[in-house]
Amino acid sequence: MRSPLGKPGLIVAQFRKYGLFYVLAALSIAAANLIHALYPAVLGDFADRVDANGLTAEAVRRSGLELLAIGAGYCVLFGVGQYINHRLGRYFEFATRQKLFRHFTGLSEAYFSKNGIGKLLSYVMNDVTTVRESIANGLNQLTNAVVLLCSSVTIMLLSGIPLSVMAVSILPLGAIPFLVVYFGPRIRRQSLKVQESLAAMTESAEEQFGGIKVTKTFAAEPIARSRFGETVDRIRENQHLLVKLSGKFQASLPLAGAMALVMAMTWGGVLVVQGRLSLGHFVELTLYLRMIANPLQQIGNVINMVQRARASLERLNRLLATRPDIADEEGARPLPKEAASIEIRGLTFTYPGAGRPALADISLDIRPGMTVGIVGRTGSGKTTLAKLLLRVYDPPRGSVFIGGQDIRETTLESLRTAIGYVPQDGFLFSTTIADNIAFHNRAESRERIEDAARLADVYDNIAGFPDGFDTKLGERGLTLSGGQRQRTSLARGLIKEAPILVLDDSVSAVDTVTESRILRNLRRTRRGKTTLMIAHRISAVMHADLIVVMDGGRIVERGTHAELLRLGGHYAALARMQGEEAVVHG
């Protein structure tokens, strides 16, 4: 099982690493079953002694002790083998999840937006678990079944039970693996349908309860009820089909066992009567038949499991073989120290799969220490420009230079260390606020974290929480308002004190008074450093050294605030629209 890259597949790697332990587990389970297979033989022996009137108190005691030893030996050895296999299975799961997560960290945004997070999560959870179960349980059951079957049949043959009786008795049991393979996938499919109809009902309930106000105002309850009732009835239908399938399956297994016993009892009994089979062997035969029904069922299980796991394993191996589309090129160099100039030459960029370029023929020269504002409507290409700078997407070669060096020939690490980034959506992680602010280096001192919060004008908010900077965010913690979130995200970008800072519409959710305070702080701390401010609001960029107006992926105007107002073009129109106040302030 080799992946296209030539790296060994997941399973091969697992067996290569733990091969010895797997052998140990197999041996342990095999030994357990060899011992277990002796169980009927002891009782058969006992029966023969009874039959021959040769039973003694000593023999009774010995048989009892033998059975106890067999039972104990089986339990211990089987338990050990089972534990090893399950433990190794969990190791596999652990290691595979590690690989997946590491792999995810190397994949680009393009990959995530193409594949969807739900799908990738299901790789991490469902596929890994399916493969793990089939390795651990599959190995346990397979070893178990094969060894027990072989040793039982061998012992029966050795003890002289005629092959014909054995064959006829075992024949009905032979149906069991086929029954399992036939019913297993069908039952599984049907139970998936039950799950789906259950999900549909839940969704309907969610919808109806959520829209209850509307339903009530229109007195549409009867319609809502009948619609919901339909989803309930669908569950019932699906469940009924499931019961029919599983009922047949569950009833047919004991039937096969009973038929085997009928054969053994009548034919075997007749042979005993005729003196061609000892009573002991007759007893053994009936006991063995009970014993091997289980392994036959397990063989069917293993077949089903392997089938299910194969698809999952293929998916996992394929995913791990995808090459990250954005990576360091061969001979990539780190950025020169303190590189802070940005040069864009004739940049045209089209998103993968998109028809129209998102950016067309952009040229821009930003000298170190400049503050540049970029304004434009939604979809004009502002954010794309920021993403290309960070190589979230790769710009074409020879189009973007930082410190005079093509960023495509630059190591990702040095590039991303040199640029501080405050994204549009203010995404925060479910950890503490301090941890979120110090995201670029979790070891930052508390003072620096607090300073950054002050610069972003969010200090008072945070200090007001009962746990202050140690307040947990997210699912089990606090929910911040949109504005607080944005300012925390801003603090996270500022604390880095990077030579280049990219602010992507980072103060859009705060009120104008707070905004002007933040902008004042920014001007003070970013003195001498390059800052790129993307904004909707004129007020955010009007102090910039250079303002670039974008429209439809092109730069349509450039200049200072005053120059652009005089020009009377897009920028001036935007300024008028956003209110005289802002303009007057300027």
Partner: protein, 408 residues
């Protein structure tokens, strides 16, 4: 086996209806405020009504739902009896063959064949009835749950708006889907097991007494031992299961969040740090899993061991009886088979305990919803007037109305 997760259907039932939700943006508002709206383990939060009383009413309500299906249940139980009879008669039939028929010599051959044919017929009858039994009980259970779901929906949608202010939509959805599903499991699993395994246990004991009263008495001594071990381990197993589930959902949440924020992680070059944190969480999950595996295997194997020891003891005690010609070998043979079958139903029954408890909790929750009366409703029938469409002219008069959303 450590493989089977079906011992905890209650947990599967409380899974969130939407499956995994992927957070967009930094924070996530939990869709269903589980912890807040669900009193844990039957402890109603701030309810003045005693839980015992609540519980009794809940059970009565459940029985009311089951009443119309009495006949189906009765028939189902009857079928169960016939379905397991074939399996349980097997040792007795082999015993008859060993002790009574084979010693007859060649004149026993027709009897032997008759015995075989009878047993084959019994097995076929068992097959049919076992199929009918699961159909009947499931059908009854499904009908009850479907009715319960529809009634609950009607009840909720007929409530006044103030009801929806008090009950978050998420928790109502949980009531409608998860709680009713737990009750479904009660009918399809718990009840089935109670009937099937209970009957099996009783019949095995009956057969044992029929074979030999003294040995059977010894076997009865095992029941409390088995039950105690099973219950003791179950608690540990449940505990381990809960812990690993909790860690799993933490791992899922972490992964989902990091996948959504991956471009940020990359922009800040924090791949290593996040990887370290993932490893930490993954390792904790591994540890909890191994704990669960250990507990499960230990439980299953010690249960096995007890079964084997019991069979060995039966051979020892019964062997002396055979030696003293108190009874014949066939009796001992049947006894050993029974004692090995003895453990299965007890194990199954203890497995139902957890589902049973979560059913109670679910039923109580549903009952609390059912006992809420809508505040806005039709006036009493004798004073109710229907508006006729042609009389409505579109004029609405408000005459000195005072209204506040909250009482007082």
């Amino acid at each position: 086996m450590a493989d089977g997760k079906r011992g905890n259907p209650a947990q599967a039932g409380t899974a969130q209806p939407g499956g995994m939700s992927v957070p967009r943006g930094g924070e996530r508002i939990p869709e269903v405020p589980l912890a807040a709206s669900r009193p844990g383990g039957g402890r109603p939060s701030g309810e003045p009504l005693q839980p015992a009383l609540h519980r009794r009413r809940a059970i009565r309500a459940l029985l009311d739902y089951a009443r119309p299906h009495r006949r189906k249940f009765l028939l189902g139980f009857l079928c169960t009896f016939l379905a397991i009879a074939a399996d349980l008669l097997q040792p007795v039939i082999v015993k008859t063959a060993i002790d009574d028929t084979i010693p007859l010599g060649s004149s026993g051959i027709p009897i032997l064949i008759g015995l075989g044919t009878a047993y084959a017929l019994l097995a076929i009858v068992g097959f049919v009835f076992s199929y009918w039994q699961s159909n009947l009980l499931q059908r009854a259970g499904q009908a009850i749950v479907a009715q319960l779901r529809k009634d609950l929906f009607r009840h909720i949608t007929s409530q006044s708006m103030s009801f929806f202010d008090r009950h978050p939509i998420g928790s109502l959805v949980t009531n409608e889907s998860s709680d009713t599903e737990t009750i479904n499991q009660f009918f399809t699993q718990v009840l089935l097991s109670l009937v099937r395994d209970g009957l099996m246990l009783v019949m095995i004991i009956g057969f044992m007494f029929y074979l030999d009263a003294e040995l059977a008495l010894y076997a009865l001594l095992l029941i409390p031992v088995i039950g105690a071990i099973a219950l003791l381990f179950r608690r540990a197993l449940r505990n381990a299961y809960h812990r690993s589930r909790a860690q799993l959902s933490r791992l899922i949440a972490f992964t989902a969040e990091n996948l959504s924020g991956m471009s940020l992680i990359q922009a800040f070059h924090q791949e290593e740090e996040q990887n370290r944190r993932f490893t930490e969480s993954n390792r904790t999950y591994l540890r909890e899993n191994l704990r669960e595996v250990r507990a499960t295997i230990l439980f299953n194997r010690s249960f096995d061991l007890l079964g084997n020891a019991a069979a060995a003891a039966a051979v020892w005690l019964g062997g002396y009886a055979v030696l003293n010609q108190k009874f014949e070998f066939g009796v001992l043979y049947a006894f050993i088979t029974y004692i090995r079958q003895f453990f299965q139903p007890i194990n199954q029954l203890t497995q139902q305990w957890n589902t049973m408890q979560s059913t109670m909790v679910s039923m109580e929750r549903l009952w609390r919803i059912f006992s809420e009366e809508p505040e806005v409703r039709n006036p009493d029938p004798e004073t109710a007037v229907s508006l006729r469409k042609e009389d409505v002219r579109g004029r609405v008069d408000f005459n000195r109305i005072r209204f506040s959303y909250v009482d007082g």
